[in-house]
Symmetry: C2
Subunit: 224 residues, 2 copies
């Protein structure tokens, strides 16, 4: 059948309709790939091979690369929602007048997100210099966290020898718990967070701690 001239509402079989269908197809592929990536990252962390994600999505590796030319573009896109959620938690916490409550809320929330999703902390904390908007969000989160720590210390609620690297220490510990406890991971992580917050609180009788280890936030992107 020969193509008909294009109108405002193209009749069935027209070029425009075909283009619409193609776009819908592409969007569906894209969504399917992102869903598969999120699932794979949640289960196995962000080091899972691209081919495994393509298989899980039911698309070819070539199709995946056409939508997401780099590994970083797929990771950052897959985690955009959680990154926004995390940024929201931080923004809210920075409005909270009680600095200790603000610190506890963020710490608790980030640990819960980490326990629910193996990929999230890795993705959140890994550096992707070629993805400037993602890197910008990440840096903003790091600064927000440092500000919360400083305020909670100045208020005399967080122990004075608390080091920003202790947040990383705690996230690594939480990772160890979440990764080994399967069905109990949320409960185990909550219990650990309860203990850690107890140990972070300033008190008149705190015991001296061993010095902080040199841990940067990028530690969480490393091998487990």
């Amino acid at each position: 059948m020969p193509a008909q001239p294009s109108h405002n509402a193209p009749p069935p079989g027209s070029d425009a309709l075909r283009a619409d269908a193609l776009r819908a197809d592409a969007r569906e592929n894209r969504d399917r790939i992102l869903r598969a990536a999120r699932e794979a990252y949640a289960l196995h962390g962000i080091d899972v091979p691209i081919s495994a994600i393509a298989r899980r999505a039911g698309v070819g590796v070539a199709t995946l690369y056409r939508r997401f030319p780099t590994r970083a573009s797929l990771i950052t896109e897959a985690f955009t929602e959680q990154l926004a959620e995390c940024a929201g938690v931080l923004d809210e916490a920075l409005e909270e007048p009680d600095p200790w409550r603000a610190f506890c809320r963020v710490f608790t929330k980030v640990c819960a997100m980490q326990a629910a999703d193996r990929g999230f902390t890795h993705a959140f904390l890994a550096r992707f210099p070629d993805e400037p908007s993602y890197a910008g969000e990440r840096d903003r989160a790091e600064e927000g966290l440092a500000l919360l720590v400083r305020r909670a210390k100045e208020a005399g609620a967080l122990r004075p020898d608390f080091d920003v690297s202790d947040v990383v220490l705690a996230l690594l510990a939480n990772n160890g718990v979440a990764n080994s406890t399967q069905a109990e991971s949320a409960a185990a992580s909550r219990r650990l967070v309860g203990y850690l917050l107890e140990s972070f609180r300033a008190r008149p009788d705190i015991k001296q701690l061993p010095p902080p280890a040199r841990l940067g936030l990028d530690r969480l992107g490393g091998p487990e």
Copy 2:
């Protein structure tokens, strides 16, 4: 050359000497396999394949299986020394008159051993029903630990809501820290242990914790 009759000190080339040499050879192979196994477990945990251990020891897989017919026999033999060390720490702690100091000493020591050797905690806590002497030591350690916890609570030093499963929780957390911090693992683990002991201490103003997760000691043998 015909074999000479055997004397107290057999002359060179005799059957007895050859048997001695064979025994020395076998012993050397055995030691080499155990050394390789300890190194491999320390780096990669006890799930490392037998073939990788044979390769590291420079012996064939058949030779390895001749010396250690089962995986469990190799693991338990490789960890005999550390198990004895751990049992010694526990025995000493059970003699210590101050129950809080006893608890802290054992907790600190076990966490340090875990940070130094990825394989140790797995080997120590995994159940090997076919290796009764090993299983016996392990059960004794578990009982000793439970006794230390009870005494420290009764003395009012350990918080009353501390659960024995919290030892497992802490070991999983310590594992997460030790496995992700490479050169800093000892320092990072010490810092975490310092925080955890702070949170375990009984105080007049403790905050209620989320309930303990259902964690058995066998959790540590699971996937990471």
